[in-house]
Symmetry: D2
Subunit: 333 residues, 4 copies
Amino acid sequence: MDILFLSDNTAPADHRIVQAVAEAGIGYAKSYGSDKWTDEADELFKREFGEHTLYFPVLTGTGANVISLASALSTYQSILCAETAHIACDECGAVERFTGSKLVPIKTPDGKLTPEMLKPCLAHIGFEHQSQPKVVSISQTTETGAAYSTEELKALSDFTKENNLILHIDGSRIANAAAGMSLSLNQVCEGADIVSFGGTKNGLMMGEAVLFLNPKLAESAKYVRKQYGQLFSKMRYVSAQFIPYLRESIWLENAHRANTVAGRLAEGFTDKGITIKYPVDGNAVFAHLSDEQIKRLSEKYLFYVWDKTENLCRFVCPYTADESDTERLLALL
Amino acid sequence: MDILFLSDNTAPADHRIVQAVAEAGIGYAKSYGSDKWTDEADELFKREFGEHTLYFPVLTGTGANVISLASALSTYQSILCAETAHIACDECGAVERFTGSKLVPIKTPDGKLTPEMLKPCLAHIGFEHQSQPKVVSISQTTETGAAYSTEELKALSDFTKENNLILHIDGSRIANAAAGMSLSLNQVCEGADIVSFGGTKNGLMMGEAVLFLNPKLAESAKYVRKQYGQLFSKMRYVSAQFIPYLRESIWLENAHRANTVAGRLAEGFTDKGITIKYPVDGNAVFAHLSDEQIKRLSEKYLFYVWDKTENLCRFVCPYTADESDTERLLALL
Amino acid sequence: MDILFLSDNTAPADHRIVQAVAEAGIGYAKSYGSDKWTDEADELFKREFGEHTLYFPVLTGTGANVISLASALSTYQSILCAETAHIACDECGAVERFTGSKLVPIKTPDGKLTPEMLKPCLAHIGFEHQSQPKVVSISQTTETGAAYSTEELKALSDFTKENNLILHIDGSRIANAAAGMSLSLNQVCEGADIVSFGGTKNGLMMGEAVLFLNPKLAESAKYVRKQYGQLFSKMRYVSAQFIPYLRESIWLENAHRANTVAGRLAEGFTDKGITIKYPVDGNAVFAHLSDEQIKRLSEKYLFYVWDKTENLCRFVCPYTADESDTERLLALL
Amino acid sequence: MDILFLSDNTAPADHRIVQAVAEAGIGYAKSYGSDKWTDEADELFKREFGEHTLYFPVLTGTGANVISLASALSTYQSILCAETAHIACDECGAVERFTGSKLVPIKTPDGKLTPEMLKPCLAHIGFEHQSQPKVVSISQTTETGAAYSTEELKALSDFTKENNLILHIDGSRIANAAAGMSLSLNQVCEGADIVSFGGTKNGLMMGEAVLFLNPKLAESAKYVRKQYGQLFSKMRYVSAQFIPYLRESIWLENAHRANTVAGRLAEGFTDKGITIKYPVDGNAVFAHLSDEQIKRLSEKYLFYVWDKTENLCRFVCPYTADESDTERLLALL
């Protein structure tokens, strides 16, 4: 069975990343991040996101999200997010268990939050019977493959600032958002306070980072990272991956390739009369297939039937895919 | 400054491990552990520890310990451990925060627990004003470099079984214990229910495992691992390391080398009239230096003054050290 | 301002309850529940709910709910409840913080859950990326004033049993449900595993109880109650209230009075052309008032405008109200 | 069996307190503390402890302690306390479970902490591998019946201020400390930031309070109290007790009586050649009895053998005891 379109976690690490990992293994280095690779990665993130940026390398996406959120709020405060958000649906309650906080899932048409949706959640500020909203967490790109435009981001950022809230971005596919809109990484995070910066889905071996764009929020971050088991002893092996990833724009190259393939797949679906449900801003395509089409594809491919009630299927393109992969799948329909 | 003896986390990964990592990066593989490398590592752990063994790869030592403990107990139960235990002293309260449970630190002469020390802790079973003891957690080797003999282990294992307790081993240096006593990995864990099986300190790049020798305790483990952010998407990169580590006995070779150097260092200290505080059963040496000796060594080396009140200094030998490293240090004294 | 209809927490304790409290203050008594009042209350609860029933007196409604839920589940499991449930909306995230578990709020037309609504939540049993559903928590009567009929309860109870789930009832107004349907307390809890049995809203001074109708679930309850700060030292003062409350059917008398007044209020509203949104099965009335009506009532009364977007107003009748109270309010419209 | 000396929780509420409770039950009152009794109690606490004082009534001693501590610290911070502290030994891990923080138990000769004992705990400030000390929690009187003098308190208070720590007093027997040293309630709390102000052991029915003497620490307190299930709906019934307790100095009268009896008991023991282990500053006496004496007393009395290895027995005098009670017990020896 072909697992190519099942998830962007199925691809191996980029060969340039593997080489960087191998080269980081020379000589002794202080553990837990006091090493030259971590310093250099920090420098590169500052170049990308501004001098105020603080870089905390971690190992997994759940790690990046939980540490971001646990650093940002107290246990009596809540997190507002789309009801489709990865932190709400796919982390086995990790956020609730580690932070003790409440997640408030908000219904959205397409996985994107707007100030209008958030306003009603602020009705009970100061009322001790209800968790106090503190963080707005959005995904860029969203779990449905859409991206927040700079205008949409600005509206959210203005809203959170006005209401003394913190804006967190789950950026497990942040590179796909930037590549898709031809913007810089910083531009697709503009106005955010904390970013879970993803790498593993886009060519890294194991590497994510918590970026504090608002450094005042980082006071407890180093302790929280340790408590959550993500203070990696041989940290150089994570930081070494971010160096070529940022310096040589591997992030852009890989994300661009994945997005292009996704775009081609969506086109191919459309050509065959298949409806695409959400904007294809990154590397994911959500298509309404017929029972017959699902059956036919399922003989050769593994993929998620996202919502059985509407035959909505998800196809995610890894950075390693190319157009021949698309054509092969489309040919089956 | 030379950091050779500062910690066994300063050494790079073994070149054979790096090669295994590189070779794991071929083609697509299902994520989150449904891959052939994880199957093979599981097979090898079963060969080493018995068919009943369940293998849960994780990323960090804190991860292995917290997941072991959180799987084993309910939040009203407590963990008995030496007051010098890593879980009590060096994980920033990770255990308490994630499990909600109480750690009960017990005073010991040398970091090793005995049934006699544990007995008084069971005085209030069933009394709702006190956390209920459930797990005994020991370190093999201990944080002071000593190892539990098979007799000592048996005594603890009998005690825990008789009292309906769970025996957990923090085995971040389990290979050093086995190499030091010329025993198998299984023998130095005999009678334990759960083992945090360490690899990173002995040549792996990033790799630890939670081993359930008592598989009945693993019921919640997969959820707990996910909640604690250690369900790594590209799990093959961890499992691939354990394959040569176990199959080619890299664990033994590396641990033996580190232990040998530690033994030579202890001898050299003794020859110079320096007292060694704890048995050197693994790769750590705790020596009482004079102020003058500390000063002289500190000009060239970083090392921990473990207890300032008694000038007790810790030297840990990485698997990469050799006798010339020892001679160089001893020559300074 | 008249606060009569603001909440059923505004009324004082029933004079017979106050007398029972006063009489409990004679002589010494063992603390923490080892007293004759607690034994007698336990006996009365067993008479009401069956011999298997276990009675754990607590102090607050939040206490009863959190202890019920924390006893019933592990931290990787989730709680399914109506999105209007008190545990989801009005306990400041107490459940998430203390249990570490996820609450899954489910949209309902009227605050009542059905098996059909619950089924989709079981789609991912065994999938470690998602919290595992374990408890279904319903409110009897609901926060909207409706009650589950015995048929509705049976359907839920069958469903939870078939799916290895636990059925919890938040019974802060359980007496109103029983009185409203002319059923016994046991009948309106039929099939539940754990009941938060309320008293304070219906004439007690401070008294709730966690009732385990499924005693196997009570294994950790006494520890959990202590950990949650609800093991009251002078427990006799709580248990003493339940004795006349159950023996003399004060619960029924008071609930019946409150329900009757609520029914009369609903009738009065209807007579004036005001729409009642939810069935008035207990002591709460939810009515759609006009802006003008809200304004007029607000001059004399405090009450909750439950949903501003539809001018939905809540009136809760305390057990002390009588028909003259209703007439006085209605006269204003 | 006589339980008089078993615990100060065995006595009933003071009759004047019962009367106050009964009188609070007149008419409707807003719930959750927005009532005139709570306002008046607040006023009285301000008179006693200063205008800056913030009063949060709660229901149990565990409640007061957990809410105090959870308000004062973040989950990566730790609490330093005597290893005999009630929060460490007798609350079933409530603090760890609810706050997620680490308790650091410190060995003391008599249950009292000093700056010298605390200093070594500050060795690793800023080091992310260790929980960061934030709160020093002491008991006044201690669990061994001793009281901190104003000098001892000042030394601790100076130390905590210098080191950016918070001083918390577990004052479940604060009245006994004040009565024993002929000081005001404020004087025996001088320099503390937060006080768990006890009442239940000294004549209240159910009533404790969290007092913030440093009001800046109270920011999250109202939410934390709700989350911990101690926001009592009919709060007037707690506050009404504190009014006569403070206004009519019932606290002093009752504590004085209990202390006097304890003093007489200690004298009686000494007269019979029995050694008293700790200073009898309050209402508890710890005496080394012989096996024979323990046996003889045990025929008529229930009491705690605190430490079996040294035949150390605890006798606590409730506020209701008088000298005839003492003579009766002494006569048995």
